[in-house]
Amino acid sequence: MTLLEFARGPALQVAMIIFVLGATWRFFGALLLPWRLAPAEPRKGALSPIAAAFKGVVVKMWPHKPFQKAGMFTFVNGYILHFGLAIVVFLFAPHILFIKGLTGLSWPALPNNLVYTVGVVTMASLVAGLVHRLRSPVLRLISRFDDYLSWLLTLLPVLTGLLAAAHLGARYETLLAVHILSICTFLIWFPFGKLMHAFMFVFSRAMTGVRMGQRGAEL
């Protein structure tokens, strides 16, 4: 079995199983704990819980004015990173072919050169995020091993993907295998670290939306 066969075969299968089972376990392990919402008569004219939950999710997409100056880098860089990752993962032709092979679903791709550019911007955003984290006394204090490992395991697939696309550093098959293995490590770590915020943020925002919404308070 070649390295590429290993990466495409058992490694990816095991990683996918750990990702799906782990993320499901963590998701339900958190959300199946007892629901203890403080009951109260809602303010007259308050949003319904569903509307408040939705508002909570939407409002938090951009900071309130007083927090914009200090938080602008975090927000803008965050959006660049997340949109960049989404474009690279879901709009790159070989990735779409891979997904089609798994699910049968496909959609139009962006031109490869555009995706490469987005990949470079995404990497720059990751590096900028790390520099920001290391330079800020607040972020240094609150950061944990999880923050740095999650950063590294997000960076590696982008970096190895770009190297594979550019055929830089080794044989293409080797580069592709390393790229797939880096995705495997990302998937394996996903359920255990902060990458899970990808699923949990919706519930966190919505719950605060419901709590503050019934009071007629800002979100």
């Binding site: 376990w25 963590r26 339900f28 392990g29 958190a30 959300l31 199946l32 704990l33 007892p34 629901w35 203890r36 919402l37 403080a38 009951p39 109260a40 008569e41 303010r43 308050a46 909570g56 999710v57 938090k60 997409m61 900071p63 309130h64 004015k65 007083p66 927090f67 200090a70 938080g71 975090t74 927000f75 965050g78 800020s136 006394p137 607040v138 972020l139 240094r140 204090l141 609150i142 950061s143 923050d147 255990f192 902060k194 899970m196 915020h197 949990m200 943020f201 519930f203 966190s204 925002r205 719950m207 605060t208 939306g209 709590r211 503050m212 009071r215 007629g216 308070a217 800002e218 979100l219």
Partner: protein, 435 residues
Amino acid sequence: MTAKTTASGVPYDAQGDMADKDRRDAAMKGFVREFGAVAAAHLEACVRCGMCAEACHFYVATGEPAYTPINKLQPFEQAYHRHAGPFAPIYRLFGVVPSVTLEKLEEWERLIFDACTLCGRCTLACPMGIDIAELIKKARHGMFKAGLIPDRLQLMDRTARAWGSPATPADDFADIVREVGEEHGVDIKVDRERADYLVTVAPAELTEHTKALADAAKIFNKAGLDWTYHSEGFEASNIGYLNGDTELQEKMTRKIIDCAVKIGAHTLVLPECGHAYGAARWEAARWYNDKLPVRVIHMTEFLQEVVASGKIKVKPVGQTASFHDPCQLVRRGGVMNAPRDVMAALGLEMRELENNRALTWCCGGGGGVVSNTRADPIRYKAFELKKREVEAAGADRFVTACGQCRITLDLGAKHTKWDRKIENLLELVADNLAD
């Protein structure tokens, strides 16, 4: 009660004579009880972005990273991952997340109690929607169980348990309000067997701001309403809510609501106190099968009602004014327009502070911080943020609607020799009632 210092030099207080292990276990049990799905969703969503730091008056005023709101939750979060989170058994088995040590809890006492006013500005700043203020309130429950709260708050807790109020014994209440009525020439109703409105008070109104008792009476009388103060249910300031003492919180809540039911009141009016509103308006229903048997409103909402309905008329003051939005009333309570409507009726031209309504800076004394003298130095620093905004607004008058905010701002003004009078909305209305 003994004032102590951790090995790393952080002062803390400890109550009771529990063995170290028992104290730590009590905190963990208290924390674990709080880990429901809501707390879990919040704790699982943090990406350590640090946005909450810039929202916290204590961080902004001091530049001290430890005051970053999410950092104040560290032992609580650690306990979640070790004892309640989805991977807790694995983390415990392999020691991935260590036990929270007693020393850590002692060290964090100052962050959970001294350096947090439960004001919730961080909740507004968090891009993940984590309600940090609510989680810190939950963390206080475990700290209280472990006897790890500031001595000053514990003293108030004991007093409230014994007297029914941190300010005065219930037996003395009727005499105090009658004396205040005589002093101000106002007919004060107290201990009536039946009334439509039960009016409650805050500790400051029984000590520094007794005129507020007469002011409320004056307005209720003028509006021609059927009302009373009552010795069996007068104290709305819920020290259990602040201290993490849920047993006392329930007791204080039941006292005023049961009293209102007993006298057949349809409305319970809370005093000008922010956290009284949080405790009675938004948390009380859990002890009444999820539905309160009486309407609960804040004094500011009452003023808005009687002004809007024409039950009272006010004279125009004709000056400019700035309003300090009490966090528990406005940001956490949703009462944003009522104070402004009343001030408009008074003919006051608003000069809003730069951060107003839900985004207001906290006075720095909420959540029990003003009563906790250990926090004085950082409270005075936080006060500077408010002071700067008030000076920049340049209004003639500076008004608020919370007795605790007023005391905090008064103390800050005195400390910095700032020549500004801080007024309460209730007083302003009572002093300007039209004939």
